[in-house]
Symmetry: C2
Subunit: 438 residues, 2 copies
């Protein structure tokens, strides 16, 4: 029989339908048996009044276990007493497609590590699955904006011949008779695409960091959203692209999932106003120091505490959850960030903070070969043609337009949008220094 | 000044505009200088009539090199003699944003390996860039269908704790104090998502194969399109999903790029009729043997020659470029493919051939724990709880619905859609046993 989704049942009252899903809860009494069946659209009560001898259906229900996969055929009956939508199914036939072993390995009290061990069971809870419905919507909105803006969707390689950006924090792969490395970001490749005449690059893909970090914001593998734009007039073009993309994403999330997010996670999705506030790093540091941050006065970069403090400060003043921090010192940015025309100690770069967490790093890039080589050498890097940067630097020798872009952590966006306690809850299967399973 | 794209120039005749792009060709004569400038939307002729002494612009143009990145400001003038759209730009100002070194490392005669070495220069040719415009369209259409069909977009991990599907052909990664492996497909993970109550899974992401293959169809890293559908009635549901997805993709490709593909690559994009032809493996083998294939009569699976022959045969008879081959013997399919109810030696599986090349493998999966374990053991695999399949098999212990899905190679689709000679031309940066650069 054709499957009817639980969410469609209100329109099916009076009809006989087939519902497919999992046994959410069981209440098996001597006279009446209640089975709540759950699919990805909701839950419905299946109510069977026990017959006497020969009540095969009643016997079957008596042997059911929670989380078994079942197919239920029966009549949809309005019943105002039933909490789940004021209707129930009076079953004619129930098929146990796949019985669950009795005694589930996780329950409501289970701690986070054990929940990750049994992630597929954890995911059956509607509020967990919601994360990936939101993810789907976020990506759809981002791609919509990317398409409007003329982006080409690329898949840059994750296997690299040299550990180019920085030797540390890179995973090494056995590659036939040699070594390969897992890409820590699509940075160099997306710039290569710009050198290849692709006007605007968009990619959503995995990023690998061999970082032994155990914070709630770090993972060794995560999904990055990367954008690179050719022929920009300045870094402002990059920020303006990103804020429009995020606004569209949150708009669509609020529209489709806002009510559910608030119900399950207690978070209201705020659609941000454009433009987002902008603050130079010099101003930010001054404001933060006034508020007591970095009492030694030695920090050149924001630390997580500074990010939280600054975000809170901006939100208090402007009511805005986002803030672009711009003009980071060259000392704390990679060699390929463009230096400001007025002050070579400052870069045309930005971070985007949301609710106290950095979700993006972006910049205009240095596109002039000579300056780029000089900046690499200044950072103590090997800029020779046979060195690890050789192939990358080649891209600047035959006409490279001005360009810039950003990288955004998708998991962090989801974590913040839903108010999840950790990035572990915002990805399908978390990967960390101690976790490669399941 | 605001950039005007070359493709927009016909609407700008009589106006002064700024165009940004690369020097495609130079013809510098004593009286007139012609510079053809190319951006991602087309090419335009810039025509400067040389003045006498003090013609600074003429001097600048005299020093230009091919492939330099330039910004040209000038008046758009209709000129029916000009081949490039009957118009030209009379320049007022030309800025060389990034000069190309003289003497490009590749030219029209360059062989494939050297072209790959300088991939970014190769990509500047419009027919090369077209591949990625088509890719963007294909993905957009596929995602459209996936969204209509209620798919959730997932990112499954590429780092795995065990080399689960098969020990061979897997890349090993140094992972802190232990080993990790690169996923050869999202197969087990997308089934885990089904076990997690995600109704329909969609993913586009990288896939890694440590296969020392040097054919035109193989790469060590490629982009896979993966779909997995819960609660199917049979493998037919999976094929029907895939054919609709491919039809929509080719429809949109034909609409947006058909003319350009035909012009640049000489291939007509055919929008396939639904349903695609279907042929059981038993029939296929019989037909092929009648045509002289496998004279020893020993093959149980199709080889590339068989695929070509079969495709040609079906196209001759039906006029259709695609064919689903169904019901492969269990001996040549993985342990998790569902066996046919009538004949356990046959699986509920399919391959999809297009123009003689296999682009997809799909199947309904065995969802019953006991049978799955038995089938794994039958293939000589360790099905114990601590073995490499332990975590995967756990997913079947607590209620697994009937499900099935497929994996599609995006590069192969592009290669065939454009008639490219090799997969190397269908990916941004090819990775093979001998190639990790650039």
């Amino acid at each position: 029989m054709v499957r009817v989704l639980v969410g469609e049942l209100p329109a099916a009252v009076g009809r006989t339908v087939t519902v497919k899903g999992w046994v959410n809860t069981l209440r098996l009494q001597s006279k009446v048996q209640f089975v709540v069946v759950r699919d990805h659209t909701g839950m419905v009560q299946v109510t069977h009044r026990r017959g006497g001898e020969g009540d095969a259906l009643g016997e079957l229900l008596q042997g059911l276990t929670v989380e078994s996969a079942v197919v239920v055929t029966g009549r949809v009956v309005a019943n105002p007493v039933v909490k789940l939508g004021g209707l129930e199914i009076v079953p004619e036939r129930v098929e146990v497609v796949s019985a669950a072993e009795p005694g589930l390995p996780i329950g409501p009290e289970t701690g986070p590590e054990q929940r990750l061990n049994w992630r597929f069971l954890d995911l059956r809870r509607p509020e967990r699955r919601l994360v990936f419905e939101v993810q789907t919507t976020v990506e759809q909105a981002m791609r919509e904006v990317a398409a409007e803006q003329g982006c080409t969707e690329l898949h840059t390689p994750k296997l690299m011949g040299t550990a180019s950006e920085s030797g540390a924090e890179v995973f090494e792969v056995g590659y036939f008779e040699r070594k390969a490395y897992l890409a820590q970001s699509p940075q160099f490749y997306k710039q290569m695409a710009i050198a290849g005449g692709i006007d605007r690059v968009f990619e959503i893909g995995p990023v690998f960091r061999a970082e032994p970090s155990f914070t709630s914001r770090h993972a060794t593998e995560f999904t990055g959203v990367d954008v690179e734009l050719a022929w920009i007039d300045g870094v402002e073009d990059v920020m303006s692209f990103e804020e429009r993309m995020l606004r569209r994403a949150l708009e669509l999330v609020a529209e489709r999932h806002g009510e559910q997010i608030e119900r399950h996670w207690g978070v209201r999705v705020v659609v941000p106003e454009l433009p987002f506030p902008r603050l130079t790093m010099a101003e930010a540091v001054k404001r933060l120091r006034d508020a007591g941050w970095d009492p030694e006065g030695v920090r050149e970069d924001l630390d997580p505490e500074g990010e939280r403090l600054l975000s809170a400060l901006v939100e208090r003043e402007t009511g805005h959850e986002f803030v672009f921090v711009t003009g980071f010192p060259a000392s704390v940015r990679p060699f390929y960030h463009l230096r400001s025309a007025g002050d070579p100690a400052v870069t045309e770069s930005f971070d985007l903070l949301w609710k106290g967490v950095e979700i993006t790093t972006g910049a205009q890039r240095e596109h002039r070969y000579g300056r780029l080589v000089a900046q690499a050498r200044e950072k103590g890097m090997d800029a020779g043609p046979e060195g690890p940067l050789g192939r990358y630097l080649d891209c600047f020798r035959y006409g490279m337009p001005p360009h810039g872009g950003f990288g955004l952590g998708l998991g962090r966006v989801l974590m913040l949008a839903l108010g999840l306690p950790s990035i572990r809850d915002a990805v399908f299967l978390f990967r960390g220094p101690n976790r490669l399973e399941p």
